[in-house]
Amino acid sequence: MNLPSPVTLATPAFVLLVIGEMLYARATAKAHFEARDTATSLMMGLGSTVSGAIFAFIYVAYAGLVAQYAVFDLGYSLAAFIACFVIDDFYYYWWHRISHRVRWFWADHVQHHSSQHYNLSTALRQPWTGVLTPSLLLRTPMFLLGFPLPMLAFVHGLNLVYQFWIHTEAIGKMPRWFETVMNTPSHHRVHHATNARYLDSNYAGVFIVWDRMFGTFVREDETDPPRYGIVKNLGTFNPVKVALHEWVGIAADLIRARSIRDAFLYLMAPPGWSPDGSRQTSDSIKAEWKRHQATQLVAGE
């Protein structure tokens, strides 16, 4: 069955919505844009499309190879589509969580988080270097389950299209039932924030229920507005440097590593890990913040 690419079909709408949000931002100041940041985000989006097209053959070859050993033949029924969409979103949650907790994966995913702005153009700031990570291997169970490969590509595209609209400050909160079940702008603002209380939370793609189930859900707190970006924000708008900066950092650390264990952990430990603990991980930042909060509480009593 030939299925269309949801992302390709939605691209004209993405462009119009980015322009619409800019006009809305100009009129209300409820969203923020900076020309160089927008240019970087859009160039990252284009570069991601190009790198995806160049390396698509690897995905197709691997998926085709594994699919030969599929346990079931699930076909194209409506139930199969729905199951595939939900399971793909479950996979997305875990892939996303790993991408924040393992530096090898983070080196790719950090590119999406590198903007200090949070608007619809940020949704298009997509990484170029997925082929350098083992992300594809994580999808092996999906291929083995027996969903048709075009269906897997289609529902994954739908997932990405859904995630476009949640990259905005223009929308406050959605109705309560929707906030309970679905990923929303409020939940995803938390995910993109560098405030200590928000680090490593809300990994959901479409359904926020995964975060609620696995203990990573954090609600947006109006008294602590999100500050966007990464813990050590980038000193450049150059998209090539944005795409490569963490890889360069990993290479430098691997060269410096004094043992195989250190080299392994530079790659597989959480971002910010170092043998002597001189750098900060999200865990150490959160711990320091909690200590400070406790001190303030005691001082206030």
Binding site: V15, I19, D37, L42, G229, W289, H292
Partner: protein, 134 residues
Amino acid sequence: MPWMYLLGSLAGIGLIVILNLMLFGRSRQVLHSLEAARARLASEVPGLCVRESILSADGRAALIRDDHAVYLVAAQGDGFIVRKFAKGTLRSLSRDTARLNLRFADFTLPQFDVPLADAARAAHWQDALRNATA
């Protein structure tokens, strides 16, 4: 066909960026006061207790020292970036009268100059940075 797609996308990106410039101008962030610089840093460093600080002559950066470290708060687009000085942070540090020339071991921020009000203060902060990165 792929080339047409690529060229069309580049043209579209160009138009959106031009629209962005027309609507919001070219933002150039400035630190209006030391308080603003300290507040920016305090949002990233819990329990910051400032010992001394200085604003650059062009208002584009500030150097701040607390009990544990020295920090640079620098304008980047319409926002700011923060760098903590520690061993290995700098490749080199030099001074040209009142201007500090910082060369970072940082792929995205290889160099940054901090013009200060006078040579004496620049020399003082040069020493502070040298100690922090020793």
